[in-house]
C-alpha cells in the first residue's frame, strides 16, 4: 500500500478564487491510498515546500500529488524539493488546477468538482509511479568535424579556442572548401582568398586541431559523448612528416589533367596541390593519373624530391577514435546543369559557363590571371548574359527551392565583369530579385548603376550562331520577346546537397528533407542541432546559404559543442522507454520507428520451456532515448513501455476520470 500525500495550493486567490481548495483537500483525503491531504497558500514558496517536507516525515508519505499550477511551471521545482527528501523525485504528480481549471472557469461550482477530478487522476497515476533514476554518461571532450570548408574551419577554431581538441576530416587534399575557389565576396568585395586562407593557416597551426585530408568517415557508432568514429585517410604517396612543400615535384611531373579547382579551365599535374595556398601546403599524388602508379614508368618526382618524401607504396590509413561530439559541415555542390538544360546547349557550347567557372576566370590567380576571356577563343567577351535560377525554382527540371545566394553572386559577377571589361554590356535574366541582408539591396542597385541591365524573364533557349550565343528570352515587364547576342553566358546554378549528404545523413541518423539537405532538429528553435544528440550542423549542408550565414551557424554549432564539453558527464533522461524482455518478440517495429536510433536488437540466449533458445530482443540506449513514446504504440505485446508515462499509469488516469 502506498501512502500518498496530496497538497492543494491556493496560489493566493489564483486558484482559491474559483476552486474551493479546502473541499478539494477533503475529497482527496477520501481517495484510496491517500494518507494525508492539506492546502497551502503558496506551495512553491519556501514555507510551502517546507510544509511538504515536514508532512513527508510526519505522515510517512512515499509519494505526493501537488494540485497547483501547470507542471510546465513547477514540476522541476518540486522534483528538486523531493531530491532533498527520502522520496525519489519522480514519485510526484502535479494536478494542473490553475491554468487548466481555476483560470478558465468562473464559477466555484464548476471549478471545484473539476479540480477534484484532476486530483483523482493525479492520485490514480501517482499510485503507479516508480522511483526513477538517471544514469550518467561520460563525455569525451574531443570534437570531430566533417568537412574543412569555411563552416568546418570556423567551428573547429571556435571549439579549439575553447580548449578542446578537434579533428577535421576533409575529403579533398586541402582545407578551404568552396569559399577558397571564389574570387571576391559580396557585398563588401573582400578578396575571398584573403579572408579564407588566413583561417586555413590558423587551423593548420592550431595546437588543438588535427587535420585529416583526403579522408572520409567510414562508420560511426555510439552516442552523444561517446561516438566511435572510423576514418579512412587515403594514400597520399607523399610523406608529410618529411615533405617541405618545396613543390619541385609539381613542376617536373609530366602528366597533366584538368584542374578540379579551376573547374576544368586549367591543367594541373598528377602530383599537385590544388592551389598555391593549400593547407596542408604539401602535394599528393593523384593515383589515377600518375604514370608511375599506372604502369610503373616515370617516377620523376621521386628523383627530384630533395628530401625523399615520395612513397609510391603508401597505403590508406584507417583509424578509429572516440569523440564526444560531431559537427557535420559537408557543404554543397552546384547542380550539374549540363544534364538537364539541353536548351542552354547542355554543355556543348564552351562559352556557356557556370558561375563557379566565372569565379575562376575572374580570379587573379586563376587560369587567365583574372582577365575575363572566353574559354572558346580567349577573346574578351563584350556582351555577357547572366541567367539566374538555373536549376532552382524549376521543379520540372531540377529543384523547387530558391537557392538563396544566387541573386547576390549574380550581381557580383555583373559588377566584376563591368568593372574589368570596358564598353561591355551585361544582361541579367532574373525571375525575382531577392536581396535580404545587410547592404545587399544597395549592392544590387549599385550593379544597376554599373550598367547591368536586368531583364525579368527566363531564357528559353541559347543558340550558337557565328560564335555568338543568341539568348532568347521574354522581357516580361515589356511583354515582348527579346534576344541578346552574347559572347559569353554565365549560368548561376543552384546549390544542391553534396554527393555524400545522403550517406553521411544515414550513417549519423540525420534525417534528410525532400531535396536531401540535412535536417535540423527544429526549423526555428534548434537550427544547428540534429535529431541525434551530440551531432550538429554547420553551413550549407543544412540548406543553401551565403558565407556570413554559414560562419554564424558554424560558431553556433561550436557553442553547442562547447556547452556539451563543459560537463564531465551527462545525465540521461529518466523518463525513457524500456523493453520487457519476456514480452518482446524482437519484431523490430520499435527500431524502425525510433527517430533517435536509440533502440537496437540484441541477441539473448535463455532457457525457455527447458530448451535453450537464442532470440533477439529490443534494447533501449538510455543515452539516446528522448522519451517520446512513439515506440510503445508500435509494440503490439506492450513490451515497450515509457517510464513516467506507463500504459498502466495512463489507463489508471483514464479509469479515475471515468468515475466522474
Amino acid at each position: 500500500m502506498s501512502r500518498v500525500g496530496v497538497f492543494v495550493c491556493h496560489c493566493g486567490s489564483n486558484i482559491a478564487g474559483t476552486v474551493d481548495v479546502e473541499h478539494v483537500a477533503e475529497e482527496a483525503a477520501k481517495l484510496p491510498n491517500v494518507a494525508y491531504a492539506t492546502t497551502n497558500k503558496y506551495m512553491c514558496s519556501d514555507p510551502g515546500q517546507q510544509a511538504v517536507r515536514e508532512a513527508i516525515i510526519e505522515h510517512n508519505l512515499d509519494r505526493i500529488v501537488i494540485a497547483s499550477c501547470s507542471p510546465r511551471m513547477h514540476e522541476a521545482t518540486f522534483r528538486k524539493m523531493l531530491a532533498g527528501t527520502d522520496i525519489n523525485p519522480y514519485m510526484l504528480e502535479i494536478a494542473n488546477v490553475r491554468e487548466q481549471c481555476s483560470w478558465v472557469h468562473k464559477d466555484k461550482d464548476v471549478g471545484t468538482p473539476k479540480a477534484i477530478d484532476l486530483v483523482k487522476m493525479a492520485v490514480a497515476k501517482v499510485n503507479y509511479d516508480a522511483p526513477l533514476t538517471t544514469t550518467t554518461i561520460p563525455v569525451n571532450k574531443r570534437a570531430l568535424i566533417i568537412g574543412g570548408g569555411i563552416a568546418g574551419m570556423q567551428a573547429a577554431l571556435d571549439i579549439a579556442d575553447a580548449g578542446y581538441p578537434v579533428t577535421i576530416v576533409e575529403k579533398e587534399s586541402s582545407l578551404g572548401g568552396r569559399m577558397v575557389m571564389l574570387d571576391k565576396t559580396f557585398p563588401t568585395m573582400d578578396c575571398s582568398a584573403c579572408i579564407c586562407t588566413p583561417k586555413m593557416t590558423d587551423v593548420g597551426a592550431h595546437p588543438n586541431i588535427t587535420i585529416k585530408t583526403l579522408a572520409e568517415v567510414e562508420s560511426v557508432g555510439g552516442y552523444i559523448g561517446n561516438f566511435e568514429v572510423t576514418v579512412r585517410e587515403k594514400a597520399k604517396y607523399v610523406d608529410y612528416d618529411t615533405c617541405t612543400g618545396c613543390s619541385l615535384c609539381e613542376t617536373k611531373c609530366p602528366s597533366k589533367v584538368d584542374s578540379e579547382f579551376d573547374q576544368g579551365l586549367a591543367k594541373r599535374r598528377a602530383i599537385y596541390r590544388p592551389f598555391a595556398q593549400a593547407v596542408p601546403a604539401k602535394p599528393t599524388i593523384d593515383a589515377k593519373n600518375c604514370r608511375k602508379l599506372i604502369d610503373g614508368k616515370c617516377g620523376v618526382c621521386e628523383k627530384v624530391c630533395p628530401v625523399g618524401s615520395i612513397k609510391f607504396d603508401d597505403e590508406d590509413k584507417v583509424t578509429t577514435e572516440v569523440y564526444g561530439a560531431i559537427i557535420v559541415a559537408i557543404g554543397y555542390q552546384l547542380i550539374d546543369w549540363t544534364k538537364i538544360y539541353g536548351e542552354y546547349g547542355g554543355g556543348r557550347f564552351k562559352d556557356v559557363i557556370s558561375g563557379l567557372q566565372f569565379e575562376r576566370l575572374v580570379n587573379a590567380s586563376g587560369p587567365t590571371e583574372g582577365h575575363i576571356l572566353r574559354p572558346s577563343d580567349n577573346t574578351e567577351p563584350k556582351t555577357v548574359v547572366i541567367v539566374k535560377c538555373v536549376g532552382s525554382r524549376d521543379p520540372e527540371k531540377a529543384k523547387s527551392y530558391c537557392s538563396r545566394a544566387c541573386c547576390m553572386y549574380a550581381a557580383k559577377h555583373a559588377h566584376q565583369y563591368l568593372d574589368k571589361v570596358k564598353d561591355a554590356r551585361c544582361y541579367i535574366f532574373y525571375m525575382d530579385i531577392r536581396t535580404p541582408g545587410k547592404g545587399y539591396d544597395e549592392f544590387y542597385m549599385n550593379t544597376q548603376h554599373d550598367g547591368a541591365r536586368y531583364i525579368r524573364g527566363r531564357v528559353s533557349k541559347i543558340i550558337n550562331q557565328n560564335g555568338k550565343l543568341i539568348c532568347k528570352g521574354e522581357d516580361t515587364l515589356l511583354g515582348s520577346q527579346v534576344t541578346v547576342e552574347a559572347d559569353m553566358v554565365v549560368l548561376e546554378t543552384a546549390m544542391v546537397p553534396a554527393d555524400e549528404a545522403n550517406q553521411i545523413g544515414s550513417m549519423l541518423g540525420i534525417t534528410r528533407d525532400k531535396d536531401l539537405w540535412l535536417s535540423e532538429a527544429h526549423p526555428k528553435l534548434r537550427p544547428v542541432e540534429t535529431n541525434s544528440g551530440g551531432i550538429y550542423l554547420a553551413g550549407t549542408c543544412q540548406g543553401p546559404k551565403d558565407i556570413p550565414d554559414s560562419v554564424a551557424q558554424a560558431s553556433a554549432a561550436a557553442m553547442k559543442v562547447a556547452i556539451l564539453f563543459s560537463k564531465d558527464e551527462l545525465e540521461s533522461n529518466a523518463m525513457i522507454a524500456n523493453s520487457n524482455k519476456n514480452l518482446c518478440n524482437g519484431c523490430g517495429a520499435c527500431v524502425a520507428i525510433c527517430p533517435y536510433g536509440a533502440i537496437t536488437l540484441e541477441e539473448i540466449t535463455a532457457r525457455e520451456n527447458s530448451v535453450m533458445v537464442t532470440r533477439e530482443i529490443s534494447k533501449v540506449n538510455p543515452g539516446l532515448c528522448q522519451g517520446c513514446g512513439a515506440c510503445t504504440v508500435a509494440c503490439r505485446p506492450g513490451a515497450m513501455d515509457l517510464r513516467g508515462f506507463t500504459d498502466e499509469q495512463i489507463m489508471r488516469e483514464v479509469a479515475a476520470l471515468c468515475q466522474w
Binding site: Y341, G342, E343, G346, R348, K461, I462, I463, N464, Q465, N466, I470
Partner: protein, 314 residues
C-alpha cells in the same frame, strides 16, 4: 514492345500525296532491311491539331479508332508511322487510354470498339534507330554520303511532350544525327533541331509560317549545312515548298539566298543503299535535290573504296 521488325502500318493522309517521297523512301528502306509493314485496314485520319482545337474527345477518338483497328488485325503488332503529326496523335491517344482503366473504358465507349492500349506506337525514325536496324542498314549500304553536311531537323511532334513521346532527348535529340553519321554524313550541331517550322499554319497563315521556316534555314546555313534532313511530311512540305518563295522575299530585301535541299532521312538512307532517285521520290522535291545528292554519292569514287565499288557493281 515487340522486338520483331513487323509493324501495323499507319500511312497517314499525306502518304500518297504531299508525303509521297517519304512513303516511297521509307518503304524502300524497310524492304531492304526487312522491316515488314502491314497496313492497318481502313485506317482513318488521325485528326492532327485540327481535332485538338475542335474537341478533346475528337482528338482521342480519331487516332484511337485506327489503333483499335490495328489491334483487331493483330494484337501482337506495334504500330509504325512515318508522319510525326500522326505519331503524336496516335501516341497521345494511347497515352490517354493507358493512364487509367477508366480512361481506357472511356475510349472504348467513344469509338465503340474494344481497345486494350497494349500495343505501342513508334515513328520510322525510332524504329530505324534501333541498334539491330542500324546494323542492318550498315550491312545494306553500298555507298556513303561522303561527309555531306546535314542538319537534322526533328520539329515538335516527335519529341514533345516527352512524357507522351518517350523518345530521345527533348532539347537535343540525336537519333537522326546518328543515322546520318551511320551512312557517312556529317551531322552538324545547330540550334533549330526542335524549333517549330510553322507547319500547322502552312495554309491558314502562310505568312507567319514562312517566318518560322526562314529562321530554320538561316541557322542551318550559318552552321554550314548542305542539306536538311526531316522525319515528317508536314515539316518537309513547309521547308521544301517555301524555300523558293523565301528566296524571292530575301532577294527583294537584299539578303543572302538559301540553297539547301531538304531530304527525308529515309531518302538519305535509301541513297546509300543504292536506291535510285526515282525509287526514293527524290525527283519529286520542289527545291532541286538531285544535284547535291549526286555530288555526295559520287564523292565516293574519289575516296576509292574498292570493296564498295564492287558492291555497287553487283
Amino acid at each position: 514492345m515487340s522486338s520483331t521488325n513487323r509493324f501495323a502500318y499507319f500511312p497517314g493522309c499525306s502518304a500518297d500525296s504531299t508525303g509521297i517521297s517519304f512513303t516511297k523512301s521509307a518503304e524502300f528502306v524497310c524492304k531492304r532491311i526487312g522491316i515488314e509493314l502491314v497496313e492497318i485496314p481502313d485506317w482513318c485520319c488521325c485528326g492532327t491539331s485540327a481535332a485538338l482545337v475542335t474537341d478533346k474527345n475528337l482528338a482521342v477518338a480519331l487516332p484511337a479508332r485506327s489503333l483499335a483497328l490495328a489491334e483487331k488485325m493483330d494484337a501482337d503488332l506495334d504500330v509504325a508511322t512515318g508522319c510525326a503529326g500522326c505519331f503524336n496523335s496516335l501516341k497521345s491517344a494511347r497515352h490517354f487510354a493507358k493512364q487509367s482503366e477508366d480512361n481506357r473504358a472511356y475510349v472504348e465507349d467513344l469509338i465503340d470498339m474494344p481497345y486494350s492500349a497494349s500495343n505501342d506506337v513508334f515513328s520510322f525514325l525510332e524504329i530505324m534507330h534501333r541498334p539491330e536496324n542500324q546494323e542492318l542498314i550498315k550491312n545494306n549500304m553500298v555507298t556513303t554520303l561522303h561527309g555531306l553536311k546535314v542538319a537534322s531537323y526533328y520539329g515538335c511532334a516527335l519529341v514533345r511532350p516527352s512524357k507522351v513521346c518517350e523518345f530521345d532527348d527533348t532539347e537535343d535529340p540525336r537519333s537522326m544525327d546518328e543515322l546520318i553519321e551511320l551512312v557517312g554524313g556529317e551531322a552538324i550541331d545547330w540550334g533549330y533541331k526542335v524549333e517549330c517550322c510553322g507547319g500547322s499554319h502552312n495554309i491558314s497563315d502562310p505568312k507567319a509560317a514562312k517566318k518560322l521556316t526562314e529562321r530554320i534555314y538561316e541557322d542551318a546555313m550559318i552552321n554550314g549545312a548542305e542539306a536538311i534532313a526531316v522525319a515528317c511530311p508536314l515539316c518537309f512540305l513547309n521547308l521544301d515548298m517555301r524555300e523558293k518563295e523565301l528566296n524571292a522575299i530575301r532577294e527583294a530585301e537584299g539578303k543572302s539566298l538559301f540553297n539547301i535541299p531538304t531530304y527525308y532521312f529515309t531518302e538519305l538512307l535509301g541513297m546509300t543503299m543504292g536506291g535510285s532517285f526515282k525509287e526514293l521520290g527524290i525527283d519529286k522535291h520542289f527545291w532541286p535535290a538531285e544535284d547535291i545528292a549526286k555530288q555526295a554519292l559520287s564523292a565516293r569514287t574519289q575516296s576509292d573504296d574498292t570493296a564498295e565499288a564492287k558492291e555497287v557493281a553487283k
